[in-house]
């Protein structure tokens, strides 16, 4: 005989009862370990998703709206043999099939060469020829096409010149390709290729790099290099740095025979400041800037030469108010030295907004059209303008008044092309024409002073990849980090399973306590035999360990089924929260052990508390003290807590409803929670008062009520369980939002806008421009707010990865003034309208930014006041300071800054991709039809703002659904607890019931007695939970934004009640069966 022997014997003797306790442990283990496994599995799936989308890619070299030589990839490999590199030209497009019936926007069009096969570990990418394409499965499914079918692809036109640079035509924004599908790609064939941290697969279309270059009128260009290497990011950066040449900076070196000079110009028309500075430092550098002016006017006569190039002269030849005219221009204007000459030119603002500018000069000199004055190469190469055969063919990206073009102008163009007709000082030229795209149009050198080697060396020394907007990132590591730090599904499911966990732990404690009560004589005996209380406790605790261990092992086995069940639902019904079909179950032994240990510890905690409370009660009973005779101090504390819990919520409710204009949902929820505690304490007090009352009018109802006080602990447990369950279920159900209800309100998440639209091709002009609308055939009345966009990761709740660089939107803040609502904002900023603060320049050099509060908190894991770091187009670090967070809005996934700051940092960014459309609700269908028709070829995708919000809320609502489902499961568990207590109590009271029957009580009366007794507890619990839940979610009931209705909530409550009543009635009926009672009496 040993202590251990005693423990095991006890465990097996009370096996049935112990297994019931183990069931409680098993359920909590199942939920707990299941949640941990779900977390692990989602994390693992996200990690796998990183490999599925990147293949062998470890590092990424990328530029935005720029292009470099695809040979760079080969050169990098030559620089460092540890590198395998594949150049990629990645663009966006629209895929169209079935004669336009099937259309998919925002398709990734990826130009690859044979090197890509190493990244994909598949040779299928080799030898893609001509119009052959391979597409991802999701694209084939959306288009309903298969291998061998033909589709039309409209690809965003890539241009070496920034599309919104001055005088660049916007006529061609896309290029079409009729392609034949060679193969539909699977996941393992890199069909899910994506450079963005997201588990959602993009629509992919691969074709040969050469073909895509041809379509873009490029020659061997790429905008990404996929690197596969074991090397560090620094080593990859070094290899990029060593491979970089002036051509990658779009610089063009040519000899100007006519002037005996060497010129370095740029394919981008305007040279970036850093490049210009480098070139300026070379010996005898002569920077120049040539600009297309609308007119050169002699002010005295008003005579004007239209549409001419004017160039700059460096050195001290001209002061800032002097001008030189060529003989042709002087003749045309009949101008003489000393005359005032006015230059009329256009400043191209954001979205091609044209601003008329003028500058007046004194004519200093008239020069002959010879030698350097007859140099047409001073005109920068601007596609559509420089290469036009006639003036009437100019595509200058600005309105050209063809009537103003005279025959002599055509003749001039035929003979002299874009040879400047006038010259101003370099200083003045810069003052007038320097713009966000750059400074000079070229830098020239005397041919004899130019040393190409020196030029190359200066370039290598001064220009770093970052200066050209080139970012080199360890993309695989970043992807894995984003996956590992993504949405914590373990925590999430633990949170969502809170009630079922609580219910199972309470059930465990309750069942264990019931077991103890049946073994009360054993506890007493052990004490009498001289076992210390501690020792007695340790016996039961050790028995509890055995129970917990057995339960936990069962629970672990169940957790696998639970996880696969949840995953099945996540892949179907709850798809909204994962949005991937790459969901793999991953079970780590360590997780199982952790689940086991936590579960055992939690269960033992519950068992320990139960045991301790029981022992204390035993002692109290021995000393003839009853439960209510607690220490005065404890009683006082409980009373004070009760009054505080009742008074504070009432004060808050009254203040919120009548004084504060803004209903604070958190405050209401806390108050509701406090009220729940208060009312439970009131119920407890009532129970004890009932017990203490001396006189009762004897009635069946009174007997039932008095019976509640037989075991106040049990009665309270039932009430707590039901109150808590009802509170959680009702309050969760109330927070489901109806987003259509308030959609027109400007302060709502829609901002009062009708539509949210995205395009694949950028819209380069202002949609509100009346003239432009007329040109495009837009006649409906609406207002558009346009957003510039820098691509980034999706930080909305649709993305499970932890994002650090969400897409940036640039907007004119005035356009959003008074729109949307703010959940938080930084101190010191306009609290009513933080949009106004977006234009501010902050003292610390950061740029103010606004995002959806849910994005800030969950997507980015940050708070207002924190900063987001980016690399801007110039290679500098861009610090965005989050100054405010909006309430849930259509901006989920983005961070918003002002256009002003946007263009300072991303000057090459052209046009808008995102639009908010406002108009009269009654015209919304016509507006939608017209916009969809006009911008069809832009890949226009438009949805109502309310619908977009609903999509985001589908995640929240799905979480709420899961919570409700698990809550309901918890309620069922709670009912099981009720049933167990009921069964046990009836068993204990069989003598009493038998006696009552013996003295003449009808079975019906006894049934009513029992049912009344437990119905009272059930109703009390549900009522307390219901009232407090409604109080907690009052803002949702009062809000038009919510679909919380008393009828829905009442239905939930009714279901809980009906479920409880069925159990109570069934068990009562079972216990009162005549045959059984007779048996019990006979036993007695």
């Amino acid at each position: 005989m040993t202590r251990l022997n005693y423990i095991f014997k006890s465990f097996f003797h009370y096996l049935k009862a112990n297994m019931l306790v183990a069931l409680g442990v098993a359920i909590s283990t199942m939920v707990l370990a299941g949640s941990l496994i779900i977390g692990d599995s989602v994390r693992y799936s996200l990690e796998q998703s990183t490999f599925f989308r990147l293949g062998e890619t470890t590092h990424l070299v990328a530029v935005k709206e720029r292009y470099f030589r695809q040979e760079m990839a080969v050169e990098m490999q030559n620089e460092n043999p540890g590198i395998e590199a594949a150049p990629v030209l990645l663009l966006e497009g629209v895929a169209i099939a079935d004669g336009g019936q099937q259309r998919v926007n925002r398709v990734q069009v990826i130009g690859v060469d044979n090197n890509f096969s190493r990244i994909a570990s598949d040779t299928l990418y080799n030898n893609l020829e001509g119009n052959e394409i391979v597409i991802s499965r999701n694209l084939s499914e959306r288009l309903q096409v298969e291998a061998g079918d033909n589709i039309l692809v409209r690809i965003k036109k890539a241009s070496l010149v920034p599309l919104n640079a001055p005088f660049v035509s916007d006529e061609q924004t896309s290029v079409s390709l009729r392609a034949t599908i060679k193969k539909v790609l699977t996941r393992d064939e890199l069909g899910r290729f994506s450079l963005k941290n997201s588990q959602s697969a993009p629509y992919n279309l691969f074709l040969s790099l050469e073909q895509l270059n041809d379509l873009m009128d490029f020659s061997s260009k790429a905008n990404h290099i996929l690197v596969s290497t074991e090397l560090s990011n620094e080593e990859v950066t070094e290899a990029v740095d060593l491979s970089l040449t002036p051509v990658d900076a779009s610089l063009v070196l040519k000899k100007i025979e006519k002037t005996g000079e060497v010129e370095i110009s740029t394919d981008r028309v305007f040279m970036e400041p850093k490049v210009a500075q480098t070139l300026e430092q070379l010996p005898k550098a002569k920077p120049l800037i040539s600009y297309f002016v609308n007119g050169i006017e002699r002010t005295r006569t008003g005579s004007e030469t239209p549409y001419s190039f004017v160039s700059s002269l460096e050195g001290s030849q001209l002061t800032d108010n002097e001008i030189i005219l060529t003989q042709w221009a002087a003749n045309d204007l009949d101008a003489n030295p000393g005359d005032t000459i006015r230059l009329k030119y256009l400043e191209i603002g954001p979205l091609r907004k044209l601003i008329d500018r003028e500058a007046e000069f004194v004519l200093k000199e008239i020069v002959p059209m010879t030698r350097q004055w007859a140099d047409s190469t001073r005109m920068p190469f601007i596609p559509g303008l420089s290469d036009a055969g006639h003036c009437r063919e100019w595509e200058a990206g600005v309105p050209i008044d063809l009537d103003a073009i005279r025959d002599k102008d055509e003749d001039y163009w035929d003979e002299w092309k874009g040879t400047p007709k006038a010259y101003v000082s370099l200083n003045k030229a810069l003052e007038m024409w320097e713009n966000r795209f750059g400074v000079y149009t070229a830098v020239r050198f005397p041919a004899d002073a130019f040393d190409e080697a020196n030029y190359m060396s200066a370039f290598s020394e001064n220009i770093r990849p970052g200066d050209l907007g080139m970012a080199i990132e360890p993309i695989r590591e970043q992807g894995l980090q984003a996956a590992r730090n993504g949405t914590d599904f373990s925590g999430l499911f633990l949170g969502l399973s809170f009630f079922i966990l609580a219910a199972s732990v309470i059930l465990t404690a309750l069942l264990f306590r019931l077991n103890l009560e049946t073994r009360s004589s054993e506890v007493g005996l052990l004490g009498a035999l001289g076992f210390q209380q501690k020792k007695v406790r340790s016996f039961f605790l050790l028995e509890g360990i055995v129970i917990a261990f057995v339960g936990a092992i069962i629970g672990l086995a169940l957790s696998v089924f639970y996880t696969s069940g949840v995953f099945r639902i996540l892949n179907t019904l709850w798809f909204e929260i994962v949005r991937t079909n790459v969901l793999l179950i991953k079970i780590y032994p360590a997780t199982l052990v952790l689940g086991l240990v936590i579960s055992i510890v939690v269960s033992l905690g519950a068992i320990f508390i139960s045991l301790r409370r029981y022992q204390n009660r035993q002692t109290a009973e021995l000393q003839k003290r009853t439960g209510q005779q607690l220490k005065k101090s404890t009683r006082l504390i409980l009373d004070i807590t009760m009054y505080i819990s009742l008074i504070i919520p009432v004060i808050i409710f009254l203040w919120q409803l009548f004084q504060s204009g803004n209903l604070n949902t958190i405050l209401f929820f806390l108050s509701g929670g406090l009220l729940l505690v208060g009312l439970l304490l009131v119920f407890r007090k009532i129970l004890f008062r009932l017990e203490a009352r001396k006189t009762h009018t004897l009635s069946l109802q009174n007997v039932a009520r008095l019976n509640l006080t037989r075991n106040t602990g049990r009665s309270l447990t039932i009430v707590i369980l039901f109150a808590l369950g009802t509170f959680l279920v009702v309050s969760t159900g109330s927070y489901k939002l109806d987003l259509f209800a308030n959609a027109q309100d400007q302060s709502s998440g829609t901002g009062g806008f009708l539509y949210f639209a995205e395009t694949t091709m950028p819209v380069l002009y202002d949609l509100n421009d009346e003239e432009r609308r007329a040109e495009e055939g837009i006649y409906e009345d609406f207002n558009a707010v346009q957003f510039r966009q820098v691509e980034g990761d999706d930080a909305s709740c649709l993305n499970l990865n932890r994002i650090s660089q969400p897409a940036i939107l640039g907007v004119n803040p005035e356009n959003l003034s008074g729109r949307f609502s703010f959940a938080t904002h930084m101190k010191g900023f306009d609290t009513d309208d933080p949009w106004k603060a977006l234009n501010q320049q902050l003292d610390d050099g950061s740029i103010p930014a606004i995002a959806d509060q849910t994005v800030i908190q969950w997507g980015l894991g940050k708070k207002v006041g924190d900063e987001l770091l980016y690399q801007n187009e110039k290679g500098d670090t861009l610090r965005l300071k989050l100054i405010a967070g909006t309430t849930p809005s259509v901006f989920q996934g983005y961070v918003i800054i002002s256009n002003k700051h946007f263009l300072e940092n991303y000057p090459s960014n052209s046009g808008s991709h995102i639009f908010l459309i406002d108009g009269e609700p009654e015209n919304q269908e016509q507006i939608a039809e017209e916009l969809q028709s006009v911008f069809r070829d832009y890949g226009w995708r438009m949805e109502s703002t309310a619908k977009r919000l609903v999509e985001f809320y589908s995640v929240t609502n799905t979480y709420l659904s899961i919570f409700l489902a698990l809550g309901a499961l918890g309620m069922i568990l709670g009912t099981v607890g009720l049933a167990v207590i009921l069964a046990r109590t009836i068993l204990e009271r069989r003598r009493e019931i038998g006696l009552m029957q013996a003295i003449g009580f009808h079975t019906r009366q006894l049934f009513r007695l029992l049912v009344n007794e437990y119905l009272l507890l059930l109703v009390a619990g549900v009522l307390i939970g219901f009232v407090t839940a409604v109080a907690a979610t009052l803002p949702a009931f009062l809000s038009a934004n919510s679909d919380a209705s008393l009828s829905t909530v009442a239905l939930v409550v009714a279901l809980i009640l009906i479920n409880g009543i069925i159990w109570i009635a069934a068990l009562s009926w079972f216990s009162l069966r005549k045959k059984r009672l007779v048996n019990e009496l006979r036993e007695e």
């Binding site: 005989m1 005693y6 014997k9 097996f12 007493g524 005996l525 001289g530 210390q532």
Partner: protein, 224 residues
């Protein structure tokens, strides 16, 4: 003197409250080694309360309990548990045998507070007692397989297995029929005589009370 109770006061409920009921009033009581004492009295007179105080299961509101001249009221809970184990043996009206253990195991149970397992010598002593009370055949049976008399005899052996100085019996024959009650009474007297154990029994049974050396009646909170 083995046991001495000095000015013991004990009641139910909270002192000072209307509901408070005093059951023992400045009670004094002494027991010499080897005494066999019966305490009788009407129901609710406080007999069990008194026995609980003697058995250190409860503490008095006022007064002191001395055992071998040591004040039990100054003991900690842990010391009291040790004291009970070493010095006292309890027999209750219901045998309170643990259903999960065999007869022998039930008997050995009181030895476990002292050590994790039972020594050979202790086991021999237990077996000796079991044989002595005539339940050797049932030693491997569980309580559910035994008669009421056998169970109560087992409870007696269990109370004596630690060789206590004082045996406390609370209505030991209360749940037995006449024949078994008589046998148990004889057994108690025989064992206490043979082992030199002091015996205090609370009983309504006149037969049992009459066979004790001394008989006290608890009346109005005092022993007379």
């Amino acid at each position: 003197m083995l046991l001495q109770l000095q000015n013991i006061t004990k009641g139910y409920g909270e002192p000072g409250k209307h509901s408070y009921r005093q059951v023992l009033k400045t009670l004094n009581f002494g027991v010499e080694k080897g005494d066999k004492i019966a305490i009788v009295g009407p129901s609710g007179s406080g007999k069990t309360t008194l026995l609980n105080l003697i058995g250190a299961l409860d503490s008095p509101e006022e007064g002191k309990v001395f055992f071998n001249e040591k004040d039990l009221t100054s003991y900690s809970k842990s010391e009291l548990a040790g004291f009970r184990n070493k010095n006292l043996g309890f027999i209750f009206q219901l045998h309170h045998l643990l259903p999960q253990l065999t007869l022998l195991e039930n008997v050995l149970l009181p030895l476990l507070p002292q050590s994790n397992s039972v020594s050979g010598e202790q086991k021999e002593w237990a077996e000796h007692l079991i044989k002595k009370v005539g339940i050797w055949e049932q030693r491997n049976q569980k309580p559910s397989q035994m008669s009421g008399g056998e169970c109560q005899r087992t409870a007696v052996v269990r109370a004596m297995v630690n060789k206590p100085e004082l045996l406390l019996a609370d209505e030991p024959t209360g749940a037995l029929d006449e024949e078994n009650a008589k046998a148990l009474t004889e057994l108690l007297i025989k064992l206490s005589d043979e082992e030199g154990i002091t015996l205090i029994t609370v009983t309504h049974a006149a037969d049992l009370a009459d066979q004790m050396d001394k008989k006290y009646t608890l009346k109005n909170g005092k022993l007379v």
